[in-house]
């Protein structure tokens, strides 16, 4: 403390510094945090320090696949919106890689298609002068879809797909947002995942997360549409209880089934009890 308005004795100062050190993260959490940031930015994670929840042996933490620009942008946008940082988060910036091609520069603009996601180990070289922007100071979240989209493995050419570990990490982030009452963030994360190429292994789980987010936002018609897509998938049975406990439960009543309506209603009721 450099100002003379504080004249604390040495023992109190030591206690304050001790308290400060108590608030710092252990090395393991620092490593995990770096992995999270790296994954969110689409950079290859470091081997041997997988994210909690990433399946052992999955491409997850050791993936070299890069997130799509849309996903990177969505994550950064959500961060910026959450942080209420007024300035532009995705202002032009350049990155030079230390390995060949030498000093390759990647220019990223708001809507530019960036085929290569930035790597964490790349060196940042501030632009000589950031171009003035006419765009609003704050990024806006990706527009929400009019209707839920079917989640399918993408086979189109383009950036490499997200690994299952990355898909799982983002899904869990969305579910955490949902638990924390931030359904809008959960839905944005699902939108960004849907716009990325994935293996599609978690599509039903993602679908039901979307259903719950839409319900939380009071968008029951869209929730029912999303629920139909979930129930149309091969592993739908696992997700019936969660759909039955949601605002989209009526979809189960209209679902084609060999069961009689009475049996179906009974099934929904028992699912609700299980949820409780």
């Amino acid at each position: 403390m450099t100002d003379d308005d504080l004249d604390l004795d040495s023992s109190l100062r030591d206690s304050l510094r001790s308290a400060r050190s108590r608030l710092e993260p252990p090395a393991q959490q620092q490593g995990e945090l770096f992995q999270r940031v790296a994954l969110a930015l689409g950079a290859p994670a470091l081997p041997g320090t997988e994210l909690p929840g990433a399946e052992p042996g999955s491409a997850g933490a050791a993936a070299t696949a890069a997130a799509t620009p849309a996903l990177v942008k969505a994550l950064v946008v959500s961060a910026v919106v959450g942080a209420a940082v007024g300035a532009v988060a995705l202002a032009p910036w350049s990155v030079s890689e230390p390995e060949p091609p030498p000093r390759a520069r990647i220019e990223r603009q708001h809507d530019a298609v960036n085929p290569v996601a930035p790597r964490m180990e790349e060196r940042f070289t501030p632009p000589a002068r950031a171009q003035p922007e006419a765009a609003p100071a704050r990024e806006v979240a990706p527009a929400r879809p009019v209707a839920p989209r079917q989640v399918e493995p993408s086979v189109a050419s383009g950036p490499e797909p997200l690994s299952r570990g990355e898909e799982l990490a983002h899904l869990r982030r969305a579910q955490a947002a949902l638990r924390d009452g931030d359904a809008a963030l959960a839905l944005r994360l699902m939108d960004s995942l849907d716009s990325a190429r994935t293996a599609g292994a978690l599509s039903a789980e993602r679908g039901v997360t979307r259903v719950l987010a839409l319900c939380a936002l009071g968008r029951s018609v869209e929730a029912e549409q999303a629920a139909r897509l979930v129930l149309g998938q091969a592993d739908a049975a696992v997700y019936r209880p969660r759909v039955a406990a949601s605002c989209a439960k009526d979809v189960l009543l209209s679902e084609p089934s060999d069961e009689t309506p009475a049996v179906r209603t009974q099934s929904i009721e028992s699912s609700r009890k299980e949820q409780r």
Partner: protein, 170 residues
Amino acid sequence: MPLDFREFFDAHVALVWRVLRALGVPEAHVPDAAQEVFLVAHAKLPEFEGRSKLSTWVYAITYRVGKNARRRFRREGLHLDVMDVPLASGDSPDAALRGKRTTELVLRFCADLEDGMRDVFVLRFIEERSLAETAELLGLGINTVSSRVRLLRTQLERTLADGEHYLEAR
């Protein structure tokens, strides 16, 4: 000057983490909030013009993220592990115990402050930022920060003098 992001991360992760915790972000949400800080920093780093110290710039981002996060997660309360302070090694047993209790008191005192006072306490007392920097980061006048610092100092000294009674009353 070129800046390696890994170096940037390593240099600031402890600062970001402890400030988020001290500001009142529940521990379970600190990783998410810290990730936000670094994503924002990553996006804005090229814009950093060096008009302030890099650490001040990081404090500013962390403070904004932390303020929003604690608002979102307010219902979960603030827990600062005040009962989990280890004994310092190298001191005599009595001195180690006194140090442990004082640290617990400081953390509890911080956790009990209302937001406006805690922000000043975190930056000025815990992070040892200057009066001017604290005022700038919080968007407050120097006189306001100065008067809060004086009040905090009095309250902290009283809390430490009250010691056991303060913790027992919690």
